[in-house]
């Protein structure tokens, strides 16, 4: 018997897919041929092991999804210690360090003060915000094709009841991601929204464009929340990622998706410092590469927890990128709740990224990452 045929037979035998006739023939064959029997026994053993393996793997995946759900609900808490106990513990442990720090604090602050005055004279800002201003010449071609498409769309939509609003060519490009699938709220950077003088447009990974409006812009934390107002926008399922309530850990491996060019781009890196530029506590520092257009990109870890939002990068050093820490999103959402008509905003996620490979994770996430454009 051919080896492949034998494997096939063994597999169907284990799965119980053989007909009674086939089965008795197969068993007869094994009885009369000890060598073949030996190899069948081995195959069967292997298939049983493979079955056990797949069962356990699928079960683990199920467990992870349940844990993610319960963690999201707050039933399972990951915080190590709560309230006073933690502070006392930290104090005891770092008493000596704090004393030392206090004695050199003077020198450090003077040094920083002079550094700021030095840099602010020469270069007012050594971080660059990552919004890409679109060069008209370069994008002319793209715009032309878009215009043609749009014209066709307008013609097609002419029969529809509402007159379509014309979307004008964009002057900048950045990224944003969904946080509320029922009310279509998207998070991006405040400096992105500031670029939009007339229209604010979100484009999904299929190239469909929708009008949006900014409902919350906080220049201090550089966070903005948009609402997609376009009726044509189809509601998505709850997000596959969860938004972490605690800060990113040093060394955590991360990936991100964004629009530094006119198609979605994947990037990888790790959390390299807990604070941002000049120890700004709103941000954390990542070691990765980001380009103009990455502003507003989601930063996600291997378990599918969203840790931050790409905002800026250091211009004097390569690979130093700053991201707003995810707990700030919760603060922003609380602020939006106070605004009339938007009280219903809610972070909706149904985590399903843990334990699956990166390619599948990307496939699930990319639908929720949008290009933010405007004019």
């Amino acid at each position: 018997m051919d080896d492949i045929l034998l494997i096939d037979a063994a597999e169907r035998y284990v799965k119980g897919e053989m007909t009674a006739e086939e089965k008795s023939y197969f068993e007869e064959l094994r009885k009369n041929n000890p060598e073949l029997d030996q190899s069948v026994v081995e195959h069967i053993f292997f298939f049983n092991e493979l079955n056990k393996y797949t069962d356990t793997r699928n079960f683990k995946h199920n467990l992870n999804e349940t844990v993610a759900k319960l963690t999201n609900e707050g039933f399972i808490s990951k915080a190590p210690l709560k309230g006073k106990a933690k502070i006392v513990y930290m104090w005891n442990r770092s008493k000596r360090t704090i004393a030392v720090a206090a004695s050199i604090a003077g020198i450090v602050s003077i040094f920083i003060a002079s550094l700021i005055s030095m840099t602010s004279n020469k270069a007012p800002n050594t971080t660059t915000l990552l919004v890409e201003k679109l060069d008209e010449r370069l994008d002319k071609q793209v715009d032309k094709t878009r215009q043609i498409e749009r014209k066709l769309n307008t013609l097609a939509a002419a029969s529809a009841t509402t007159p379509p609003i014309e979307i004008k060519p964009s002057k900048f490009r950045a990224t944003g991601f969904l946080i509320d699938n029922t009310n279509n709220f998207i998070v991006t950077n405040a400096h992105v929204v500031r670029e939009a003088k007339n229209q604010l447009i979100v484009e999904n990974n299929k190239g469909q464009q929708f009008l949006a409006e900014a409902v919350y812009v906080n220049n201090e934390s550089d966070l903005a929340i948009l609402k997609v107002t376009d009726r044509a926008f189809k509601k998505l399922a709850p997000m596959p990622y969860s938004i972490r309530k605690t800060n990113a850990n040093l060394g955590e491996q991360i990936f991100m998706l964004g629009y530094p060019k006119s198609e979605i781009v994947y990037g990888e890196g790790y959390v390299s410092a807990k604070n941002g530029f000049r120890m700004d506590t709103i941000y954390c520092q990542l070691s990765t590469s980001a380009n103009e257009g990455n502003s507003g990109s989601p930063v996600i870890n291997k378990n599918g927890e969203l840790l931050g939002i790409i905002t800026s990068m250091e211009t004097n050093a390569a690979g130093v990128v700053f991201a707003i820490k995810s707990p700030n999103i919760y603060n922003a959402v609380e602020e939006v709740k106070k605004i009339k008509d938007y009280e219903k905003i809610k972070i909706t996620s149904a985590p399903s990224l843990k334990g699956i490979d990166r390619e599948s994770q990307i496939k699930k996430v990319q639908e929720y990452v949008f290009m933010i454009k405007g004019n």
Binding site: E42, F46, E49, L50, D55, R57, T66, P80
Partner: protein, 187 residues
């Protein structure tokens, strides 16, 4: 102990029913977490131990002719307690004996079996890691995601299902070789 309810729970688990998994977590997780936190563990330790106990119970629920001699709660508690003591010993931070003894079941035999299965699992996982692409994705698509051969052929770009099937057998033979090479070493 409500035998009928316990039985439904175990049957649900064997089917990998999500509602059942969630119920078991809701009913037991906090007890286990406080057991582990009280005995010099962290919340992460608690999550790991609980997951392992769930797998032990799952394996048991799937084994033919299986019956639990106590309720699920006691069983999970006993397994977690045993697993944690073992881990403490391994880490040598065996500072404090667990003092809060509830009714504890002898679970050594089950855990021995689990350890053996876990070992096999890692050998298979290792073999999976080593076969490389496209074999890994192909086998995962068929065996783990349980996709149809026709769908796999389309996704992987094979001209027809038979070609994909032949490729799958070739991959399977490689996986088997890698598996047994390590399995025999491990024994």
């Amino acid at each position: 102990m409500n035998i009928a309810a316990e039985k439904t729970l175990l049957e649900g688990l064997a089917r990998e029913d999500k509602g059942t998994i969630e119920k078991i977590y809701r009913d037991n997780y906090n007890i286990i977490q406080s057991l582990i936190l009280k005995n010099s563990g962290t919340t992460d330790d608690a999550a790991d131990i609980f997951q392992e106990a769930m797998i032990v119970l799952f394996e048991k629920s799937k084994s033919p002719g299986f019956e639990l001699s106590c309720n699920v709660k006691t069983y999970i508690y006993s397994v977690c307690r045993r697993l944690w003591l073992k881990k403490l010993q391994q880490m040598q931070r065996f500072s404090k004996q667990t003092d809060d003894m509830e009714q504890v079941m002898p679970v050594e035999e089950d855990l021995e079996m689990h350890e053996k299965r876990q070992n096999d699992f890692f050998i298979m996982e290792n073999a999976m890691m080593k076969i490389g692409e496209p074999c890994k994705s192909l086998l995962e698509a068929y065996y783990i995601q349980k996709k149809q051969m026709q769908q796999i052929a389309t996704e992987f770009g094979y001209t027809n299902a038979d070609n994909a099937k032949t490729q799958k057998y070739k991959c399977l033979v490689r996986l088997k070789k890698l598996f047994f090479a390590q399995y025999k070493n491990g024994l």
